[in-house]
Each structure stands twice: as C-alpha cells, then as structure tokens.
C-alpha cells in the first residue's frame, strides 16, 4: 500500500536530497575500493548515498553508452565513464537541482568529457528508444512510487541485448505502520 502520493513523495525526496550535506566517506568506503575512491573528486565520494556498487555488476565495456538513473553527486556516473572510456558515453539523470549542480561540478573536476548530467525524472527518461547499452542505478528505485514505470522506461531506452544493473533496498518483512508513514524513512 502506498503511504505517500507521487507529489508528496517527490517533495519529500527533493527536500531531503537537496539539503543533505556530508563531509565523511563512510558510505562510499562501505561499497567501493580505496583505489576507485582516490581517483574521484572528493565531493563525489563524500556525497555517495547509494547502497551498493552497480557498476561492478554491469560488466561495462569500452565504447558502451550508459545511463545512470538518479546519479546524485555522480560517483557511479564517473566510475562508469572510466569503464567505458573516451569512446563511450554516460548520461547521469537526477531530479534534484542541487545534486545535478554537484554532479556537473564533479564531472568537470574529474575531466570526464564523455559525461552529460541532465535534470529529469527517472519515470520520464528524456532519451530515445534503444539508445543505451547499459542502465545502472544505486539506491534510487526504492524512492519512486512508480517502480514499474521506471523499469519500463529503462527497458525502452535500452538497446536489444542491453543490460540493467541496479542496487537497492528491499523489504522482506513488513515494517510497522508508523515507520512506513514517516517522511524520513521514505527519503532513505
């Protein structure tokens, strides 16, 4: 059962991710290797808010086109950009203006010329049909009240034979109602 309407959920998430500040690397250190992190802009590392390492499971190859759904400050976008190399390209999407701004700064700081950051909803991906080889996403699908729509959009933009690699949080056992109704729980 949905506890928030689409617009309520979006407003809560925009607020939480727009306000969030971090000067630690505890989240990134839990999922990524030290060498990977040392090669990235500090802000991309400190603002890592994902729950895994989807790029590790994506099997990216040189020259591939990648879409990062909910790119945040860009940590997975930048790792994907390195994996596909200068002949590949990566598009990072995020709906939060503050995160888009951060990601663009981090892309520039990393000198990643094969990356484009766009502000958009993951339920309405602004890319043509069959235009990417791989979709990655890290801890974002659970934030959407329209998960099937996000997956259908991912399917649409993937080329035939294309792959998707998602890390996310799932519930195996229900949480108490007062937790499920909490805006703070939704934002995470």
């Amino acid at each position: 059962m949905a506890h928030f309407r689409d617009d309520e959920a979006r407003s809560i998430i925009l607020g939480a991710y727009g306000r969030v500040r971090s000067d630690g690397v505890a989240v990134a250190a839990a999922f990524y290797g030290t060498e990977e992190l040392e090669a990235l802009p500090r802000d991309a590392v400190e603002m890592a808010l994902g729950v895994g390492h989807p790029v590790r499971h994506a099997g990216l190859r040189s020259g591939e086109a990648v879409l990062d759904l909910g790119c945040g400050a860009g940590i997975d976008t930048l790792l994907a950009a390195r994996a596909v190399g200068p002949t590949g390209r990566v598009v990072g999407l995020d709906m939060t203006p503050e995160m888009v701004e951060r990601a663009r700064r981090n892309v520039e700081a990393a000198g990643a010329g094969n990356v484009e950051i766009r502000q958009a909803l993951i339920e309405e991906i602004p890319l043509p049909d069959a235009s990417v080889d791989v979709v990655v996403s890290n801890g974002v699908l659970n934030l959407s009240t329209r998960k099937s729509r996000v997956l259908a959009e991912s399917f649409r933009v993937l080329r035939p034979g294309g792959r998707i690699s998602i890390t996310d949080l799932v519930l195996e056992e229900a949480l108490p109602e007062d937790v499920l109704k909490s805006p703070a729980a939704l934002a995470g």
């Binding site: 895994g52 035939p160 890390t167």
Partner: protein, 72 residues
C-alpha cells in the same frame, strides 16, 4: 516483488548478484538520517530487526535481443 516487476516489463536473465542484510548501524552511516529518526527506529522496531531492517540487493537483467518496446 521487485524481481517480478523486472519480469513483467520484459527483462530476461534476471539475477540477484548480491543480497546483504542492512540494519540500523548501516543507516547510521547516511547523512540523510537524523539521530532522532534513528532513535525512533530503534524504539519502534523489535531488537531482532535492528541488524536486518531491509536487504540490500544487486539485480542484473538483460533486454532480450528480440524485444519490442512496451507501449508507454
């Protein structure tokens, strides 16, 4: 439930590559969660759930080569 959504959309070769318990201490690493919210969770949840509040999973799948795009 999530895997079924992948299947319903048309993805094939759906694989859970990782499956890791995610508890309150893990949430504590995230600046998204204020200490009072974490304390609320600690009180609201039975101790048995503190170490496994949710699961962190990695899912991979493939769009079949012969797939048509779903009507959107």
């Amino acid at each position: 439930m999530l895997l079924k959504k992948f299947f319903n959309v048309g993805f094939a070769d759906i694989t859970v590559a990782e499956r890791t318990p995610f508890g309150l201490d893990d949430l504590g690493r995230y600046p998204l969660f204020a200490p009072d919210f974490l304390e609320f969770l600690r009180r609201a949840l039975p101790p048995a759930r503190h170490r496994e509040l949710v699961l962190s999973i990695a899912v991979t799948a493939r769009k079949p080569v012969a797939a048509a795009n779903p009507a959107s």
